[in-house]
Amino acid sequence: MIPLAWMLGLSAIVFVIGVVGVLVRRNALIIFMSIELMLNAANLAFVAFAREAKSLDGQIFVFFVMTVAAAEVAVGLAIIVNVFRLKETVYVDEINLLKG
């Protein structure tokens, strides 16, 4: 039996790795991967609490989160491809179309 605190700690560590990835990297694809890491950390917390409460509702939520993540990746990668066609770069600090 794994203690709940271990799983929550692991979830927190992975989530923070995702946050740091968004903050320090400037490649839009790596930022996207970091967002996936954060979603997975949230999923791990859901599963941990679902096991702790002996309920299946948390696992159903993980299922929905995965679906939303798939939709988000499809649309986001389409946007990145479009930006690359326009600007020839995926570095987020060189994409400043909205700057006055």
Partner: protein, 193 residues
């Protein structure tokens, strides 16, 4: 046995996640992300979420990562070249903020959690919970499930429309000479002359 496996796969997950954000080559980052997803699937197995482990491998490590790798290779990115005082400053700030957030969340999770009210229904099955999840998904969560299908449809149409774009090949491409329905050809010739 189970705690040892949890520690092993957890260490694998953390190391692979760190490599995702630290490696310079986007293709390597994507492959390390596959490793991270697979070790997370193993952790789901340890937590008796067998259905989610399978979906994690099929959807995340299969479909989503193939999409990522396809785009990374389609864009043909070079290794990141990152230097300069601004980037060093931003990187330092990012790591410090991440450390603060990690300390905060570990302190928060380190507290004792009171046991909530137990859900009255299903006990977790011992050999796979796919049947139980299917039953819940198609009865109590039927409406969200249908909404999800609508969301996927919208995302699919949106991705196709966005990625198609207006497209430079439409604007730049000359219609072939003498082709029917190409009235702009004489104007183009004047322009180049």
């Amino acid at each position: 046995m189970t705690p040892a496996l949890f520690i092993a796969f957890g260490a694998m997950l953390v190391i692979a996640s760190l490599m995702v954000i630290l490696h310079r080559n986007p293709v390597t980052s994507a492959l390390f992300l596959v490793v991270a997803f697979c070790s997370l699937a193993a952790i789901y197995l340890l937590l008796h979420a067998e259905f989610l482990a399978m979906v994690q491998v099929i959807v995340y490590a299969g479909a989503i990562m193939v999409l990522f790798l396809f785009v990374v290779m389609y864009l043909n990115l070079k290794h990141d070249v990152e230097h300069g005082i601004h980037l060093a400053l931003r990187r330092g700030t990012g790591w410090i903020l991440g450390g603060v957030l990690l300390a905060e969340s570990l302190w928060f999770f380190g507290h004792r959690w009171a046991a909530g009210p137990l859900a009255p229904e299903e006990a977790l099955a011992t050999a796979g919970n796919t049947e139980a999840i299917g039953r819940v998904l198609y009865t109590r969560y039927l409406f969200p499930f249908e909404i999800t299908s609508m969301l996927l449809l919208v995302a699919m149409v949106g991705a196709v429309v966005i990625a198609k774009g207006r497209g430079p090949h439409v604007e730049r491409g000359r219609p072939p000479q003498g082709a029917p329905g190409a009235p702009a050809a004489p104007a183009d010739r004047q322009e180049t002359a």
